[in-house]
Amino acid sequence: MAAEISVSVQVQGFDPGAEYTGLRSGNTADGATAMFVGNVRDFSPAAAGQHKEVGVLELEHYPGMAESALTQIAERAAARWPLGRIRIIHRYGRLAAGDEIVFVGTTSAHRQASLDACSFIMDFLKSRAPFWKRELDSDGGSGDWVEARSSDEDALKKW
């Protein structure tokens, strides 16, 4: 019962509704679908307290390794939970506030398995997949790279 895994690393946007349809299509064995979507926020989490406006984000990635890292994370999830389908999309390039960055969708016969796997994939993606965010200045110039948060590394300990 190997899970069907589909991973995309892409510039173009995606439609969570269409991804849901893809996870469900012909899949009546799995009664549970969990999804997570990450969007560009309108303030920087690094600027604690002071809501620094973020106009545009630029995402750099390591071509080849990004796809294989996401696939490996999906395989680890599939080995741990009884999943039917796993779909991961991660964008790169320039993104504006509100834009979708990442999609993780999992299906299972068990709701907790689908939700746990979705959370597990996001946690490992955050600390193990080669993507780097930079906040571009409002004048379009290169801004600062987003600093990794120790809370993201800590999040792996629960798995």
């Binding site: 750099e60 390591y62 890292a69 955050k126 193990r128 997949a129 780097w132 965010k133 790279w145 990794a148």
Partner: protein, 82 residues
């Protein structure tokens, strides 16, 4: 030759996307790092950052991972995707 890639802030600091390194005398990822650091004090300092992550043939790897001719090595800051 060993192909070496740099990403994000490290790529900018070194002003280098990638380079080819002769494999002689280099046995581990840490060996690659040391050899690259000999280019200049700036390179040595940039590569000494303990938080840097390393990949060997597109997989995250530890400093003592064995490196051989033809391998692809990468150095980069902690990832911040998602």
């Amino acid at each position: 030759m060993i192909k070496v890639l740099f990403f994000a802030g490290l790529r900018e600091r070194l002003a280098c996307d990638s380079l080819e390194l002769a494999g002689e005398g280099v046995e581990t990822l840490d060996g690659v790092r040391h050899k690259l650091g000999q280019q200049s004090a700036e390179w040595a300092a940039a590569l000494a950052d303990e938080r840097l992550q390393m990949a060997l043939n597109q997989e995250l790897a530890c400093a003592d991972a064995a490196v051989k001719d033809g391998d692809e090595v990468a150095f980069f800051p902690p990832v911040t995707g998602g």
